[in-house]
């Protein structure tokens, strides 16, 4: 794979006791491109995500993130909140994790925590209401307002996030991740539970994030219409290993992918396995 690589995953492994969830997985994600990670249920996609975003410590392998300025960051060495704070990797969750008791606007304000913490002089400047803090807060609200406008939720800015319809919550979670101003956005099944119209709107939003914000996207998705429409590159996983990768067209026609998704006769499966390894 040529071009500008933002994330290079090299022989990533993750074991839980005796179970190998991810086995020596290697792939690369290009800058300002949408890379999709697909595979049947239980293939280990979310585990890969959790490794990249610091929720799991991988058992082996490395993940190198390269920023615009050429700075390299080894993600496996960072943990927890530092992935988002220092490496600028943001993520959403398969089962939406908004702050349900806070308003849509507040959700987007919490996402700007680290920037605002600095602006508030670690709270002390903010406590005395320093002008520099006030302008920073205003800017943060402006950024949040822009995102609310973009996802069409400006009218519901002051509603509790838990009261929003499902589709709106999905989009709000993406907006919240974007408010951390990430370099790489990891989306875990953003189209799950959306209807066709909402899926189409989501595709448009993701393309605009890629093109207008210049953010690279790594995406887990089951909805093939979304994957095929917006992905620049597709990586297919099954049983913790990569079984195929390429453009959406290539992947769609790959017999191993079809076998993984649809199942095959036993002989056929053996043939596929042999040709694969």
């Amino acid at each position: 794979m040529s071009g500008d690589i933002i994330l290079a995953v090299d022989r990533l492994s993750m074991r839980f006791g005796g179970i190998v969830a991810v086995n020596e997985l290697s792939f690369e994600a290009e800058r300002r491109k949408i890379t999709a990670l697909i595979g049947p249920n239980g293939a280990g996609k979310t585990t890969v995500f959790n490794c990249i975003t610091g929720f799991y410590k991988p058992s082996g392998g490395c993940m190198r993130l390269t920023h615009d300025d050429g700075r390299h960051i080894q993600l496996e060495r960072l943990n927890d909140f530092r992935i988002s704070k220092q490496a600028k990797v943001a993520r959403t969750f398969q089962n939406i994790r908004l702050f349900p008791g806070m308003t849509a606007l507040e959700n987007l304000m919490v996402a700007q925590h680290n920037a605002l913490m600095l602006a508030s002089g670690l709270t002390f400047l903010g406590l005395i209401g320093a002008p520099s803090w006030r302008t920073a807060e205003k800017r943060a609200i402006d950024l949040a307002t822009r995102w609310l406008t973009r996802i069409g939720l400006l009218d519901r800015a002051d509603d509790a996030a838990g009261n929003l319809p499902y589709g709106d919550q999905r989009r709000l979670e993406i907006a919240r991740a974007m408010c951390t101003e990430p370099a790489l956005l990891c989306l875990d099944e953003p189209a799950a539970g959306l209807n066709a119209r909402e899926s189409a709107a989501l595709s448009e939003l993701l393309l605009s994030i890629r093109d207008d914000n210049g953010v690279s996207i790594l995406l887990i998705e089951h909805d093939m219409s979304v994957v095929m429409e917006i992905s620049d590159h597709v990586v297919v996983m099954d049983y913790g290993v990569k079984i195929a990768e390429g453009s959406p067209q290539q992947v769609r026609d790959d017999p191993k992918v079809i076998a993984a998704y649809l199942g095959t006769d036993e002989e056929e499966a053996i043939a596929v396995m042999e040709s694969g390894t």
């Binding site: 988002s84 008791g101 806070m102 304000m109 919490v110 913490m117 903010g126 406590l127 509790a160």
Partner: protein, 441 residues
């Protein structure tokens, strides 16, 4: 009176008569089993040491009947008032009136509190009670930061109260430092202990967190009891200096405030001064908390209560967020402790038992977790109400307990259960308590 047809919960109308009857019967049965030995049979040691007993089936029957009918009454009350989520039989006019009253209640209460020393100048009892209530308001607001905002269940809050009180008492009696120097020191020391408690409990949640904080409170108390050389052990610290009005003592002497102002000395001056002092401290707590909620740190606390995993994904440092919550809450506890020491003039470990922690936590929970006004109202109801029932003698605890149970049925999420947003674009609208998480440690 019917509810609007759009209300989806309209269908979930309360239970029927058979259900209520059955429930009352079960309650009565439990009461019969429980009380048959406790009340039904009375045993005593006879004159020669033998066991004599007699039965009191009349009392037992009365008790069981009370439980039976009480259970029916409670169920009926639930039907009428209803917990959150059931249909309310309150006319809309009354509801809008209540909304106006609700907005006015905070300023009215504040003005009234300012006027209390003027109105009740001659009534020492009322003033003392006012000081006590305000102390608990302040403690409640302090604990509210930890429990209400950050969602960390802290059963050892009294430890910080004790640290504050002993900090002032020891600094003042040993080094002669004045109250106004010791006050911030007491706050800082308590905050340090808050961080010390915070570190070991960072990974704990829910019940486990509660148990460790409970143990922490007991450890502090036991250390105070056993470290005789420093704290005087169970004898406590006495002769703690009274506060001065920026160096001017409130004493009958020539350099006292009364002599300087040329008015006649009265011991009430000191009480009034203490009243305004604790009022100022409580208002400071309130002001700081309200401001903190609108700052990133306060939003991070609330976000932590809502969803810790999402916080981590957004790059929020969970460790510092939890520690700052513990430290901030502890600091206010320390201030209140220093005030307690200077007010009493004498402190001993007896003042810092688990019961105090439980009382403050009850105030926060009854008030509605996270609500400043709710906590103030709950403190007033708990401390003031307890005094109100003083005439009932031994039934005081019983009446008080019933009142608390009724309140929790009527308002399961506290007096003021809804949450006010910290920032808004067009209009601020309260968030229903159904959506707000309680936190899990």
């Amino acid at each position: 009176m019917t509810a609007p047809a759009s209300d989806p919960k309209h269908a979930s109308r309360g239970p029927g008569a058979a259900f209520i009857f059955k429930k009352a019967l079960i309650s009565a049965l439990v009461a019969l089993v429980l009380f048959s030995l406790m009340i039904g049979i009375r045993t005593e040691a006879g004159p020669t040491g033998q066991l004599i007993y007699w039965t009191r089936f009349g009392d037992l029957a009365a008790m069981v009947a009370t439980v039976f009918f009480g259970s029916i009454v409670v169920e009926l009350l639930r039907l009428w008032w209803g917990p959150v989520g059931t249909v309310r039989i309150v006319p809309p006019q009354l509801q809008s009136g209540l909304a106006v009253a609700r907005r006015a209640i905070a300023p009215v209460l504040l003005i009234f509190t300012f006027l209390v020393p003027v109105i009740f100048y001659d009534q020492r009892y009322i003033l003392d009670l006012g000081i006590l209530v305000l102390t608990y308001v302040m403690l409640g607001w302090g604990l509210n930061v930890v429990v209400g905002l950050a969602g960390l269940l802290d059963l050892g809050y009294v430890a910080f109260y004790a640290v504050g009180a002993y900090s002032y008492a020891l600094l003042a009696t040993n080094f002669g430092l004045s109250f106004w120097i010791c006050l911030p020191l007491a706050g800082i020391l308590a905050a340090l202990w808050g961080v010390m408690l915070g570190f070991p409990v960072l990974r704990l949640r829910g019940d486990y967190l509660a148990i460790v904080t409970l143990a922490f409170g007991e450890i502090i108390r036991l250390v105070i009891i056993n470290w005789q050389s420093l704290t005087g052990g169970p004898n406590g610290v006495s002769g703690i200096p009274r506060p001065t009005l920026f160096g001017i003592p409130l004493t009958p002497g020539d350099d006292g405030l009364a002599a300087r102002l040329g008015i006649e000395f009265s011991p009430t001056h000191r009480i009034v001064f203490l009243f305004y002092l604790i009022l100022a401290l409580a208002l400071l707590t309130n002001w700081v908390t309200i401001r903190l909620r609108r700052l990133p740190i306060g939003r991070a606390w609330e976000a932590l209560r809502e969803d810790e995993v999402a916080c981590r994904a957004l790059g929020i440092n969970i460790t510092t967020t939890k520690l700052t919550a513990f430290a901030t809450g502890a600091m206010f506890g320390g201030f209140a402790g220093a005030f307690f020491a200077t007010r009493q003039g004498f402190i001993s470990p007896e003042s810092f038992t688990f019961q105090e922690s439980a009382l403050v936590l009850a105030i926060v929970v009854l008030g509605g977790m996270g609500s400043q006004l709710g906590v103030a109202l709950a403190a007033l109801a708990m401390i003031g109400g307890f005094e109100l029932f003083r005439g009932l003698d031994q039934f005081r605890m019983l009446v008080f307990g019933i009142a608390m149970v009724l309140l929790m049925i009527w308002r399961p999420r506290g007096l003021i259960g809804h949450r006010a947003p910290t920032v808004f674009l067009r209009h601020s609208q309260a968030i229903s308590s159904d959506l707000v998480k309680e936190g899990h440690g």
